[in-house]
């Protein structure tokens, strides 16, 4: 990680927190911090990505503005995180996409939709596009199967590759070794933290989602969105399986597995994304890194649109609107896949990696870190 102003600000804050430690019960950041006395840029990258932005430590901090120390960890870490996304992006020349990321993600989405519409209109007979299509293969009469698979599969595989490279860059930079990735217990702990969002709990009493008061809304919305996303993904996979191996061609009836998974997942995503957007609008802006909000909104809206168009497609697939909707939906899915490695979505990769690093630190192989607490005093 390179030295930047945000990194220096994070270091100043961590030096103060490390002398204070009042927040150590809130999340993983503080125990991880306590294992260190000096904070290299890479340490701060790790800590910033470990921060879940629950904002608990902002409201609890006796050094928050207007105190002259002006500690605001959620905002400070958010800025560092944004820089780490750029730092670890692959391939390197695309790192610049993280600057003005909100605009770029929105543009990509708009382009994706437009392209899909124009392409379908160009390839297909307009009559097909606007008239109701029924029976097996109805979708492919709008967009040919080969095109769907090439575009979707290609962009998906690229996204996976780019994210994996990002993970590798983060892992190396923060001092990780490949062999650590095979230790079972830390992996299980990290997976547990990732899937439950344990650190988005403010140490048990909830987060400061909107302000001084505690709630678990953000965590629940995130769960709805995340698990909704997984269900939608599962729907796609089962559909591919049906199509490929069972020879059953889409569209599927409502009570089929792909449609059920997709419906439940889509509703989860819409509720989750909608809720998260709402929280961002109503939240106290003091602990927020304002200039990064654009990127957050852009991705949330894109995810929301993905799910919403999918649901709409399901509802209206028997009508003449199906053709346009399908093109739109696929355009959005395509742009989502394309922007994933260059959007806020990467936080999932780095946060997971940071949680794994933390699990490894908490379960060191023998002969590690002594504590420096023994001579401490207290008032």
């Amino acid at each position: 990680m390179r030295e930047t102003e945000s990194v220096q600000e994070a270091r100043r804050a961590m030096d103060i927190c490390n002398a204070c430690r009042y927040c150590e019960g809130f999340c993983a950041v503080f125990p991880a911090m306590e294992l260190r006395r000096e904070f290299a840029a890479a340490d701060l990258s790790y800590l910033a990505n470990l921060c879940h932005n629950c904002r608990g430590c902002y409201y609890a901090c006796q050094y928050a503005p207007p105190h002259e120390f002006g500690i605001n960890l959620p905002a400070t870490f958010a800025r560092v995180r944004a820089e780490t996304y750029e730092e670890y992006a692959w391939p390197k020349p695309l790192a610049g996409l993280f600057r003005r990321n909100g605009t770029i993600v929105s543009l990509a989405a708009a382009l994706g939709m437009a392209l899909a519409l124009i392409l379908t209109a160009a390839i297909q007979d307009p009559a097909v596009l606007y008239s109701p299509q029924h029976g097996p293969g109805a979708f492919y009469r709008i967009i040919p199967w080969w095109l769907m698979v090439t575009l979707a599969g290609g962009s998906f595989l690229f996204a996976v590759l780019a994210l994996a490279m990002g993970f590798r860059n983060f892992w190396r930079d923060t001092g990780g070794r490949p062999d650590e990735l095979t230790r079972g217990r830390p992996l299980a702990l990290a997976l547990h933290d990732i899937l439950t969002l344990r650190n988005l709990g403010g140490g048990g009493g909830g987060c400061n989602d909107t302000g001084e008061h505690f709630s678990t809304l953000r965590r629940r919305f995130h769960h709805a969105m995340f698990y909704g996303f997984l269900l939608c993904f599962a729907a796609t996979v089962t559909a591919t399986f049906y199509d490929h191996f069972l020879g059953r061609v889409a569209p599927y009836p409502f009570l089929s597995l792909p449609v059920l998974l997709g419906t439940v997942g889509g509703i989860g995503m819409v509720a989750g994304c909608g809720g998260l957007i709402w929280l961002k609008v109503v939240q106290d802006q003091a602990p927020v890194a304002r200039r990064l909000l654009g990127a957050d909104y852009a991705l949330l809206v894109l995810l929301l649109l993905t799910a919403a168009t999918g649901l709409l497609l399901l509802a209206l697939r028997g009508t003449g609107a199906m053709g346009v909707l399908l093109a739109l939906h696929l355009g959005i899915v395509l742009s989502l896949f394309l922007v994933v490695p260059y959007s806020k979505m990467v936080h999932g990769v780095y946060r997971s990696a940071a949680l794994l690093r933390h699990a490894l630190e908490r379960n060191p192989k023998p002969a590690d870190h002594p504590t420096d607490r023994s001579a401490g005093s207290t008032a």
Partner: protein
């Protein structure tokens, strides 16, 4: 909107832990309650927002406290630190009441840390607030708002008009405007006077000018002074304050916990003239940090400099301010603004007095100097492995001891021993009744919580009669 023309049942002066415990308790008993806090909202909560734990009696392990900590042990601990300057009846009452305080606090939304990761060894005696004192204060304010308590920030009480032991009204300055407030009962919970340098000078002379105040700048003792001037009985030594040695680069006010510096036992400490002045290794730091404030306050310019070598750097909690380093003692002295030759001579003399032997930072290792005054009686290892590291030290004032005298119902007493008619007090402002000298970690919040609740209960009883 807060209507200051109405007659409140209970007026609570102050906005820290003691004030809020009283306000919530009185409100729960059905009273209308007004809280007046001098600080603006973002800085509310007095010294309480800098705290981290409360010393709590308990008969069996709880979710936040290990083993047991019984009344007699608690009392013995208190007796030791106060050297007997305490009131056994009030002290034992406080100690016993801490046992029921936790459920009240939790009901008010205060959360505790399950157990401490470090080795402070306090998780048996002290319950740690999750997120520290500001989180605690936030929880009480949220509860107060929910219960319908009126709160005015940026509002200073300047006069509680006493008439034959009866508070007629409170004269206040609210957001810059003069107001008068009437209430059937008043609870004074406005803290100590440690932020009032002029007052501190009365006990310490001009030296007080150089003191740093660890907590809120709003604890100026205005109400305390006002009450004492009107014949309220005082308790505690008017000249004394709890002073610890903190990093000399700390801000004048509100530096809080992070300005502490735990390196003294592993260092030598010199004054402005480059001379040592006290045994740095007399005892473990938790037992000595409070006398070092006084020691440094007695040195010229009220400043000291702790000097260690690189081997000692990892032996204490990191300080928030960067270590000042140099490869030579002379170079370090120069950076610290000390006479280089003199400091070098002091270090040489100290090194020559060190004896070989096992050094152990985790206990009193008995490694002592021979042949110098003052001696260093533990951890006396020579200062010889560069880089050399220095930290400036100044006295940091935690709180003052002088307070108003109360009885076991938190009722304020007049100089002639008669009780006041409708005035109660809780927290730092009456703590001198129990803590006449010294300090026991976590006892400030114990007094504030216990007497806050008593004051709230009694105030409510009185207001409804």
């Amino acid at each position: 909107m807060v209507d200051l023309s109405r007659l409140y049942d209970v007026l609570v002066v102050g906005g820290g832990n003691a004030a809020l415990c009283a306000a919530v308790t009185a409100r729960q008993a059905g009273c209308s309650v007004l809280v007046l806090e001098h600080a603006p909202k973002p800085l509310r909560g007095g010294n309480s927002r800098h705290t981290r734990n409360m010393r709590t009696m308990h008969k069996a392990p709880t979710s936040v406290l290990t083993e047991a900590y019984l009344e007699d042990e608690y009392w013995d601990d208190l007796l030791r630190v106060t050297g007997g300057q305490t009131d056994e009846r009030l002290a034992r009452l406080t100690i016993r009441a801490t046992a029921d305080a936790l459920p009240f606090m939790e009901a008010c939304g205060v959360r505790f840390q399950p157990s401490l990761t470090g080795t402070l060894n306090l998780s048996r005696t002290n319950a740690f607030f999750l997120g520290g004192g500001k989180a605690l204060v936030n929880a009480y304010y949220a509860t107060a708002e929910r219960l319908g308590i009126d709160i005015l920030y940026d509002t200073e009480v300047t006069d509680l008009v006493l008439d034959d032991g009866f508070v007629r009204e409170a004269v206040v300055t609210s957001k810059g405007f003069p107001e008068r407030v009437r209430a059937k009962v008043v609870v004074a919970s406005s803290g100590g006077f440690q932020a009032n340098l002029e007052w501190l000078k009365q006990g310490w002379g001009p030296a007080a000018e150089n003191f740093l105040i660890r907590g809120t700048p709003y604890a100026k003792g205005r109400v305390l002074r006002n009450l004492l001037d009107q014949g309220v009985a005082s308790v505690g030594d008017p000249t004394q304050c709890h002073a610890v040695a903190i990093d000399g680069r700390a801000p004048k006010f509100d530096g809080g916990i992070v300005t502490r510096l735990d390196c003294v036992p592993f260092s030598i400490v010199v004054n402005r003239n480059g001379e040592r002045f006290y045994d740095e290794g007399e005892d473990v730091w938790p037992k000595r940090y409070a006398i070092w404030g006084r020691l440094v306050a007695q040195q010229p310019d009220q400043v000291g400099y702790a000097i260690i070598d690189s081997r000692a750097e990892r032996l204490f909690m990191p300080s928030v301010f960067p270590a000042i380093k140099s490869d030579t003692i002379e170079g370090l002295a120069e950076k610290l603004g000390l006479p280089p030759a003199k400091v070098a001579a002091t270090v040489r003399a100290f090194n020559a007095a060190c004896r070989p032997g096992p050094f152990d930072s985790s206990r009193l290792d008995g490694l002592r100097t021979e042949g110098i005054t003052p001696p260093k009686t533990n951890w006396a290892r020579d200062i010889s492995v560069p880089p050399y590291i220095g930290y400036p030290l100044r006295p940091g004032i935690t709180f003052t001891y002088l307070g108003v005298k109360v009885d076991e119902n938190a009722r304020v007493l007049m100089e002639d021993g008669r009780p006041t008619a409708n005035l109660f007090a809780s927290g730092e402002i009456m703590a001198g009744s129990i803590l006449g000298k010294g300090y026991l970690a976590g006892f400030g919040m114990a007094i504030g919580t216990v007497f806050g609740r008593i004051a709230g209960r009694e105030a409510a009883k009185h207001a409804r009669n």
